[in-house]
């Protein structure tokens, strides 16, 4: 029996590292998957059918973010999509990035990117001040 396998058994019989983290990550993927279906489909419908891709410009976005509910909607879309996607990448890393050092580096990069994108998105969405005057909401 090879050493890694034995080490894994010792590991597994103890408390799993991170406790129930993997369980909650799995549950989050289920919930966010369903939520994203609604959020993304409505986003597509609104931008492509109701507004139309050709009509999207700065004024449309500025007018849309006049409404705090739209800001919240866009932030949810960003947060759920990014978390869902990043966790997916983390799981792929758990499957295929096997060298311990490389695995840590991979997760560190993912984490930094995740925080940076969420932070940037939140900053842009919530501190956005529309210039005067603003176009009328479609």
């Amino acid at each position: 029996m090879n050493q890694t396998l034995n080490a894994a058994f010792v590991n597994r019989r103890g408390r799993p590292p991170g406790g129930n983290f993997e369980l909650y990550a799995w549950f989050f993927m289920r919930i966010s998957g369903v939520l994203l279906l609604a959020l993304a489909v409505f986003h597509l419908f609104w931008m492509h059918v109701v507004i139309g891709v050709d009509n999207i410009d700065f004024a449309v976005v500025a007018a849309r973010w006049e409404n705090p509910l739209w800001k919240l909607y866009d932030f949810f879309l960003l947060a759920f999509a990014l978390t869902h996607g990043m966790n997916g990448l983390r799981m792929i890393g758990d499957d295929y990035v096997r060298r311990p050092g490389l695995a840590v580096a991979f997760k560190a990069v993912l984490f930094v990117l995740y925080i940076a994108f969420i932070g940037m998105g939140a900053y842009i969405i919530f501190t956005f001040v529309p210039p005067e005057p603003v176009a009328v909401l479609p």
């Binding site: 396998l5 597994r12 993997e22 799995w26 758990d94 499957d95 096997r98």
Partner: protein, 234 residues
Amino acid sequence: MRYVFRIQRFNPETDKAPYYKEYEVELEPTDRVLDGLNQIKWNIDGTLTYRRSCAHGVCGSDAMRINGTNALACKVLVRDVGPKVTIEPILGLPVIRDLVVDMDPFFEQYRSISPFLINDEPPPHGRERLQSIEERERYDDTTKCILCAACTTSCPSFWANENYVGPAAIVNAHRFIFDSRDRGAARRLEVLNSRTGVWRCHTIYNCTVACPREIQVTKAIGEVKQAILYRQST
């Protein structure tokens, strides 16, 4: 009818790497792939090595990759694989020789989920532990496992990470977790609630396709995930 068997050969004592060798055999279309292998071993090349015991799909010895799909050689008819068939050992386990792989890692994972009835309570009235038809039905599907390893060695998560406990071990955990007579669910679920447990399963369904006993493997894994979720939230 004439069939060509293209078989992956490897003898660790003489070969540096596995290679393919072709054999021509005369078979009835209703003969099984195992019959072809036997004909080669008995009449053409006695060095061909593979496992088989019962030859009737019960013992689970002759799981192999037949035209890229995991199956039991004794349950596949040659008419269903075409005139030229490629046979390789199952993936993800070390090859010992030709089609024989080292099953130790597989059985080690199987043992890790305590595949036996755990119940310290004395049986009621000193007799057997009775079960209703519904209670027996709950885990009926997963009792069918013959530990051939077709599912585990069809799983990309297992190919990528040999520490993953694998579908076969989860199926056998399921068989006891949902058995009304068993009291060991907590300890099995704890083993399976780890990074090398059920969470490595990304529901790709290869295992369900591979199972020669038609066990709904992915469904069983899903039920174990749910059981872990409900246990943690109560």
